[in-house]
Symmetry: C2
C-alpha cells in the first residue's frame, strides 16, 4: 500500500535523440515529398483495422500488448496508444487495465447500450433515473430464402435479385409484443445458416454473426419515420391497421464501413419510446 511514495529519484532526463535509426520494417510513411505524410498512428490504426477485418483476432480475443505492438511496428508505445484510442472510443476495442486490449464482443450489455434504443416510456409518473433497460425476448416468425429487392440490394451493396436470407422476428418486452423486425442479410455471407441454427443461437443475433461467421457489427445508422401500421404488422403488435407505428430502417456495418444487414423494425410506441441520447456519459456502467 505504501503510505506515500517518495521515490522517483531525480535521475533521467532522456530527451529522445540518439537512435531513430532503424524503422525496421515498421510503419513509416514519413513525408517523402509533398503528398501523403500520414501520421504514424493513423497508419497503425489502418493496419489494426485491416487485421481486425481479416479476423486476425476474433471478437473477445486479446490483442498483443501495447509494448509488443510498438515493437512489431517500430513505433513508440505512445503512438500505439493513440492509434488504439479512437478504436476504443468507437467501441471496436476494449481496454482493461492489468488485463489487456480486447476485440469488442457482442454481449447482452453491448446490444442494450449500443444497438437497442427502445426503452419504456418515461412520461409522467416515472421518476426512475435510468429506466432500467430490458433485454427483448425474440420469437421467430419466419426464416426463408429470398432475393434482394431494390432497396436491400442498394443498402447491402449486392446485385439486384442476389440471394438473401429474410428473417422476421417478433420482440417481446415485459411479456408484450412491441417490435417486429424484418431482417435481410446476404446469403453467401452466412453459409449454412438455417432456421434451426438461427433459433439455436445462444446469444444475440449480432453475437451469432460474430461467433459463427466472424462478422462483427460495430456501427449502425437508423432512419425513423411515423407511418400508418400495415395490417399484418398491426396484427402482431395488437393494434389496429392504420394506427401510428414507428418504422426504423437500420443498416448495420462491420469494420471497413461494410454494410452487412438491412433491417426494418416496426415499433409500437404506446408504452415505449426510441431513445436517442447522443452519447451521454456511458460510464462503462460497471457491474
Amino acid at each position: 500500500m505504501s503510505i506515500d511514495s517518495p521515490t522517483r529519484a531525480t535521475s533521467s532526463r532522456t530527451g529522445a535523440a540518439s537512435t531513430r535509426a532503424a524503422p525496421a520494417a515498421g510503419v513509416s510513411p514519413r513525408h517523402a515529398d509533398g503528398a501523403s505524410a500520414v501520421p504514424l498512428y493513423r497508419e497503425l490504426q489502418r493496419r489494426l483495422t485491416r487485421a481486425l477485418s481479416e479476423g486476425t483476432w476474433p471478437p473477445g480475443a486479446a490483442l498483443p500488448s501495447e509494448s509488443k505492438l510498438a515493437q512489431q511496428h517500430g513505433v513508440s508505445i505512445g503512438t500505439v496508444r493513440k492509434a488504439i484510442d479512437e478504436l476504443v472510443a468507437g467501441k471496436i476495442l476494449v481496454r482493461q487495465q492489468g488485463r489487456g486490449t480486447f476485440v469488442a464482443a457482442h454481449t447482452a450489455d453491448r446490444l442494450l447500450f449500443h444497438f437497442f434504443h427502445v426503452v419504456p416510456r418515461s412520461d409522467g409518473t416515472s421518476r426512475a433515473p435510468a429506466a432500467a433497460r430490458e433485454m427483448p425476448r425474440p420469437m421467430l416468425r419466419s426464416f426463408r430464402r429470398a432475393s434482394a429487392g431494390a432497396a436491400v440490394s442498394r443498402e447491402l451493396g449486392i446485385e439486384r435479385d442476389a440471394p438473401i436470407l429474410r428473417i422476421d422476428n417478433l420482440l417481446l418486452l415485459g411479456g408484450r409484443a412491441v417490435i417486429v423486425d424484418e431482417i435481410s442479410i446476404s446469403a453467401p455471407l452466412f453459409p449454412d445458416l438455417d432456421r434451426v441454427r438461427f433459433e439455436g443461437r445462444p446469444g444475440t443475433i449480432y453475437g451469432l454473426y460474430q461467433a459463427d461467421y466472424g462478422i462483427n457489427v460495430v456501427r449502425s445508422s437508423e432512419r425513423l419515420s411515423a407511418v400508418a401500421c400495415p395490417a399484418p404488422i398491426a396484427k402482431l403488435l395488437g393494434l389496429r391497421a392504420g394506427q401510428p407505428v414507428l418504422r426504423i430502417r437500420r443498416i448495420a456495418y462491420t469494420y471497413a464501413d461494410r454494410a452487412v444487414e438491412s433491417r426494418v423494425s416496426w415499433v409500437d410506441t404506446r408504452e415505449h419510446e426510441y431513445l436517442s441520447d447522443l452519447w451521454k456519459s456511458d460510464p462503462d456502467h460497471e457491474r
Copy 2:
C-alpha cells in the same frame, strides 16, 4: 473569475517529495488515504468545465494556450491535452492547429450536424450520398409567458408552476411546413426576452441563448414516438388529424448537464426522416 492563482513555480517535477505538505495551489488531489485519487487530467477537466459554465470564456473565444494552462495549473502539457481531448470529442471545445482552442459556438453547421436530425427521405430513387442537409426556415406562431406543468417542471428542474416562456415555431423545409416546435424555457434564465427580440435574432435559437444569455447548449437527449396527429398540429402540417406523426421530446443541456430547454417537436415524416447516425465519421466537414 480566475480559475486559480498561477503559482507552482515551474521547477521540479513530480511534487511528491517527502512531506505532502503544500499542494501549492496546483491541481493535485493525489491520493490522500484511500478514497479519491482522481487523475490530474480529470480534475483539470472539471475545472475547465466549471470555468466554461461560469462564462469565463464566452462561446467562440479562445482558451489560454496549452502551455499557459499547463503553467497555471501546474501540470504538464500532455496532461492538459488529455483533459481537453474529451471536451473536444464532446464538441464542447474546438481545436485548431496554429490558432488555438476555442469554445464551440452555435453556427448553422453545428446546428445542422449536431442538433437537427430531420433529413429528406432517402427511400428508393435517391442515390445522393449525404443527402445535402438544409437549414430549416422558422416561422414564429406564438410567443407567450406561461407556467410550468408537471412534465416541463420535472425536465427543467424547476418548481411546478414556475414561470416559463412558451414558444411555438413552425419549421419549413424546401418551402413546406414539416415540423412544429413547442419550446419551453425557464423565464428567469432569459430576462427581457420577448417576441421582438426573439424574432430579431440573427442566427439560430441556440445561437440566441448563447450570444444574449451566455447559455451554451452542448448536448441533447431525444425520445421519439409515433402518435396520432392532434388536430391543431395537423392543420399546420397539412395533414389530417389522426394521421401518424413523429413526436420528439427533447431536453437540451448546457455544461454541467443542466437542462435549459424542453421541446416537443411534431414531424411530418411523409417526405422526411429522423436520422440517427450514431456518430459516424463526422470528419469536421471543413468549410
